[in-house]
Amino acid sequence: MTQLALVIDLNVCVGCHACVTSCKQWNTSGWAGPMVDENPYDAAPTGTFFNRVQTFEVGNYPNTETVHFPKSCLHCEDPPCVPVCPTGASYKREDNGVVLVDYDKCIGCKYCSWACPYGMREVDTQQKVMKKCTLCIDRITDQSLPEAERKPACVLACPTSARLFGDVQNPDSEVSIAIRERGGYALMPEWGTQPANHYLPRHKNRMHITEDDLLRTNNPLKKEDITVYHGEETLEDVTW
């Protein structure tokens, strides 16, 4: 069994939104498109995005962490959005576990969006169907692309390579290793949705200094004549 997924490394994400717009440009002209924009040049511009980067502040000044938090469909292993769909438009692929919507079957009842605790689904206000992250299904399965490019647009774009992509069911994959070794976790585990996407936590590197580090025998000050004599009066000038 294969379950493709993203592992997002919060330790290096700087919140640049590259994943947000690279997703938009790939998908608006792709299989999952179009992705509508409303009021594109007016008040309250809004539109369909499969990917968001949010910002949270953790803690109080001065011990504040600014956490940038990218968020897209988690492709749950037990996706609550799929069984509720009355038409079967929402489905989870057998071959790679990606959760998709068949726009031709979707009636736009939005029930799947209610059934997603993560808020990962979007309604297309013009096509009147539900849309969502496809993990760039039309890239990752496109055999005409070089293998290195058979990845979601967000993964290829990410400047900090904070987005790892692979099969979380394969214990030897990069993503599985990262989850295992770096404390990868799922969002809202309380609902038993088993999100395939995981997040890697922040990790702090610290430096430990001991007093000995400051008292070295090779201290360069020992090489200097640090007494500066300008010809001032000395005992030799006054004693007899």
Binding site: C13, G15, Q25, G30, A32, P45, A153, M207
Partner: protein, 968 residues
């Protein structure tokens, strides 16, 4: 629906891939543009490009929306004769008419007084061409936006270590183990920096961010050290003090590669006090270099010439030369300078606890000393010493505007350079590394003209409009010591203004101080909005008239791709293309994209045809140059020398037969020469075949220690990167600055400042860095304005101009003022409340957002999200103008006048470099009244749409699909 696994995107429509270079910001990544039926399908990072290696950012990924933006200009326009300037009422004209108008007017100015023409450009990355045009025209009044961007960073570092953060150098995070980022959160070198920080962190490096705000890269730092804005200099002095006191400096590095051990004359009575003790009789290279006629104090034999074989010089101490001259080592002077600047002293200024400062100093010093890197690379230094390895002290720094955009920024950055030097991290693995064409002599060789005689009718300027003064004689002043340039750069007011003072051009021209001008030509510079300070008044100056109805600035030409706020103030508008519609070069003569391992330059190739009647600005410049008969652009028979920019780039040489042109790659008849070589007619094609860049990787032995690397220096000279192969000794002590100070003290044999500048020059041209409170702060009531106000660009808009971009504007359509909740609550301000932000100058109304990630003495906002109503192709109701705001309205372009200045008007800038001090602004905040409208203020009359501007979609939605968009 078709099974997505059974289709290939490339089989939809006609699919093509073209390579070029991104220009959604100043980072300049390699991109591959996929086209479907001639429309942009997808823009991806080019995996074969050395800069971004396939990655791309939010801006680069939104290039599609830039092409279809309704803000695009498509026709040359002339202000309607009946319309007031600024009313945004234009009529279409042909390019012939436009060029005719320009040629007639500029031809007349050139024949009468070339300095009546001022050319100022924004973030254009084509200064090699625009600067050359200005020089050819004969006007000194040329600069780009560096004066309000980060000239302090360039000068502060280049005057200390011969290179700078920026395109010219950066932190070597591949080898570093400790990375200290201060005063920056996002940068020019955006994607490579992101990639490098990520890799650094994953390798276990420790990352400390020092900043009043925790944002951007600082978000993922291991430690955030909040600091009060404008106090970084105090921190560096205290860190240096602690490092000197504990002996954590790199003694060998300081002796061999810096002027730390060199002897400075220490006798205040003498005219040459503060100058290096030199033996001017000995035979060493003297030119635009640092002649090696200075002395060390050998512990056994006393005075010896520097780099005498076998010498064991003292780093500290005061001595008396054989001729009785009292001297001290530079390092001794530095030690004396920093001694009073204890961590406790700095705590009171910076707000950082003294213990933290001490610990930071220890972390830096111990990491540098105990975690050295030895790379097995042979190299030879400039004194013929062979080295088997290259040593690195793996402490890297990075800094930018947080340090630079203060009126004390130059000295702050000097202090940082010295801290980096003391730790022994310059051009070494894991420290600061240069990028070609740097390092350069301190200061670099190009100089501005020296006097008004350089400006002559119908004659190219004698000298370069911009340069690097090394002594008072290099200033561009008249016999009375008064400025020749409209922006007063290189005058006694701002002697080291290496990037000009674009931020004062409009005010100076309006006031006629130092003189009025006729034509102001602005390229891609939004001077009626976020590129000016005191914007409300600047907009008034642009439309101000003499009593006879003539405008104070008679003629304004604006060339831009988009309907910016500034376009409304033009008399003539020239529509430029987008980056996907043009040839461009990222030239070694300007701002290349070099890597640490060697020079890299790059090109843009057109991927799409120009929209409407847009013309690439370079073509316009070359055409205009030929029409005006400028020598570089015309043949002897007066005909145009170059067909267009493409032709120019191939065939132009800096001087006949120099072999140096705008592009360094694929030179020589067959494209087999690098950096220097005769023109190659196939150069563009060869760049195209190599993913649009040229990368000359230096031999490993030339990649480090380049200030003193004999092999590298000779290679650089042979390939035209520098004129000299002399070692570039780091300036801990700046004799260059001392020369200006001596002039102010009446001790310099040459030029001396006018009386009213003497005290200013004497104070600020201190050869050692010092901390002073920002100038504006010294002049206002700090109790009334207790808060520092900062702006920064969000990553998705950094260095971009994309409020007209339908995707990017959704991420940031308006901005808030971030306030520490403690400060807000004390004022009765709730999260989300409407508030006023007031400075000594003006006030703006905006919304408040609580943030725990800001130092309580600071408030900040995302910059340039707020727009003028109707500008940038947006509706007049757009969030950008109704909920977004621009902090520039409260930032002064000039200092408040106080009696101490002798009532003279001074720019709100660094007194050495003229860097705009927009981070100095201090404000107070208070809640807006319950009856006040919930809309940001000030508001401006909505800008009208321009003829030829693409109209907004009629329906309230759009959906981009390549191949069908716009063809419905």
């Amino acid at each position: 629906m078709q099974d997505p696994a059974s289709r290939s995107d490339q089989s939809t429509g006609h699919h093509e891939v073209k390579e070029t270079t991104c220009y959604m910001c100043a980072c300049r990544c390699g991109i591959r543009v996929h086209l479907r039926d001639g429309e942009v399908r997808y823009i991806e990072g080019n995996p074969d490009h050395p800069l971004n290696k396939g990655i791309i950012c939010a801006k680069g990924s939104s290039g599609i929306m830039k092409q279809v933006s309704p803000a695009r200009l498509t026709k040359p326009l002339r202000r309607k004769a009946s319309a007031k300037r600024g009313a945004s009422e234009f009529e279409e004209i042909s390019w012939d008419e436009a060029m005719g108008m320009l040629t007639e007017r500029l031809g007349r100015l050139r024949a009468e007084d070339p300095k009546q023409f001022a050319l100022f450009t924004g973030r254009d990355q084509m200064q090699a061409l625009t600067g050359m045009f200005a020089k050819q025209f004969g006007t000194p009044n040329y600069a780009a936006h560096g004066g309000f961007c980060s000239v302090n960073m360039a000068t502060g570092m280049i005057y200390s270590i011969g290179g700078s953060f920026w395109e010219f150098g950066g932190p070597d995070l591949d080898h570093a183990k400790l990375f200290v980022m201060i005063g920056t959160a996002e940068d020019h070198h955006s994607n490579p920096m992101k990639a490098a920080i990520s890799k650094f962190k994953r390798q276990g490096g420790r990352f400390i961010a020092i900043n009043p705000v925790r944002s951007g890269y600082g978000a993922i730092a291991d430690e955030w050290v909040p600091i009060k804005p404008g106090t970084d200099g105090a921190l560096f002095l205290a860190l240096t003090n602690e490092i000197l006191k504990t002996g954590l400096f790199d003694r060998d590095f300081l002796i061999q590669y810096t002027n730390a051990a060199e002897l400075v004359i220490d006798d205040p009575e003498r005219d040459d006090h503060g100058m290096f003790y030199r033996d001017t009789s000995i035979d060493v290279t003297r030119g635009c270099t640092d002649p090696q006629d200075k002395f060390w104090w050998d512990r056994n034999t006393g005075e010896v010439l520097t780099h005498t074989k076998g010498a064991d010089p003292r780093l500290l101490g005061a001595y008396t030369m054989k001729d009785g001259t009292p001297v001290k080592t530079s390092f001794q002077l530095l030690k004396e300078r920093v001694e009073p600047h204890t961590p406790e002293w700095a705590e009171g200024i910076t707000g950082i606890p003294a213990d933290t400062i001490r610990r930071l100093a220890h972390e830096m010093g111990i990491m540098a000393r105990d975690h050295k890197i030895e790379l097995p690379i042979n190299w030879t230094d400039a004194w013929d010493n062979e080295h088997a390895t290259v040593t690195g002290n793996p402490v890297a720094f990075h800094a930018m505007r947080g340090l630079a955009a203060h009126s004390n920024g130059f000295h702050t950055i000097r202090a940082l350079s010295i801290l980096m030097t003391v730790l022994g991290t310059i051009d070494r693995p894991g420290g600061f590394r240069h990028k070609a064409p740097f390092p350069k002599p301190i200061p670099p060789c190009p100089k501005p003209p020296h006097g008004p005689e350089a400006v002559q009718p119908n004659t190219p300027l004698d000298g370069l409009p911009l340069g690097w003064p090394a002594r008072p004689e290099d200033l561009f002043v008249d016999d009375q010591g008064e400025p020749v340039r409209i922006d007063k750069a290189f005058s006694w007011e701002y002697p080291l203004a290496a990037h000009g003072l674009m931020h004062n051009v409009i005010t100076n021209a309006w006031r006629g101080d130092p003189y009025p001008i006729d034509t102001l030509f602005l390229f891609m510079a939004n001077m009626a909005w976020n590129s000016s300070m005191n914007t409300v008044e600047t907009r008034k100056m642009l439309v101000d008239q003499h009593e006879n109805g003539e405008y104070k600035i008679p003629f304004i030409v604006v060339c831009d791709t988009y309907a910016s706020e500034t376009v409304a103030f033009a008399d003539l508008v020239l529509p430029d293309t987008t980056y996907l519609e043009r040839h461009d070069v990222l030239s070694m003569l300007d701002r290349p994209i070099s890597e640490f391992d060697g020079p890299v330059d790059a090109v843009r190739l057109p991927v799409l045809p120009p929209k409407g009647e847009c013309r690439p600005f370079q073509d316009v410049i070359i055409d205009l140059g030929a029409r005006l008969g400028l020598p570089a652009f015309t043949n002897e028979d007066g005909t145009a020398k170059f067909r267009n920019y493409r032709d120019f780039v191939v065939n132009y040489e800096t001087s006949p037969g120099s072999g140096i042109g705008f592009l360094a790659g694929y030179r020589g008849k067959f494209g087999d020469k690098a950096l220097k070589g005769e023109p190659n007619p196939q150069q563009w094609e060869q760049y195209a075949a190599n993913h649009c860049f040229f990368h000359h990787e230096l031999p490993r032995s030339y990649q480090f220690m380049r200030n003193w690397n004999k092999g590298y220096l000779h290679w650089a000279r042979a390939h035209g990167l520098t004129k000299w192969a002399e070692p570039i000794t780091l300036h801990i002590y700046s004799e260059v600055l001392q020369r200006f100070r001596a002039a102010a003290q009446g001790k310099w044999p040459g030029r001396r400042p006018p009386e009213r500048y003497r005290e200013r020059i004497e104070t600020f041209f201190d050869p050692l860095p010092f901390y002073y409170e920002p100038l504006e702060t010294q002049r206002i009531d700090k109790n009334r304005y207790p808060l520092n106000a900062l702006t920064q660009r969000p990553m998705a808009m950094y260095h971009s101009w994309d409020s007209q971009n339908a995707w990017l504007r959704q991420l940031h359509s308006h901005n808030y003022l971030f306030v520490n909740p403690k400060v807000a609550i004390a004022q009765g301000i709730q999260d989300g409340d409407w508030i006023w932000v007031e400075s000594h100058l003006n006030r703006v109304k905006c919304m408040c957002r609580y943030s725990e990630a800001v130092e309580p003495g600071t408030v900040w906002t995302w910059n340039a999200i707020g727009k003028g109503a109707g500008a940038w192709g947006l509706s007049a109701r757009a969030d950008e103008s109704k909920k977004g705001f621009l902090l520039n309205h409260v930032i002064g372009e000039e200092l408040p006048v106080v009696p101490g200045d002798g009532s003279q008007v001074l720019s709100n800038s660094d007194p050495l470099t003229g860097q705009a001090a927009w981070y100095d602004v201090r404000v107070r905040i208070y809640k807006a009244g319950p009856d006040e409208k919930q809309i940001t203020e000030p508001q401006f009359t909505p800008m009208k749409a321009l003829p030829g501007q693409l109209t907004r979609p009629r329906s309230r939605w759009q959906a981009y699909v390549a191949g069908v968009f716009g063809r419905k």
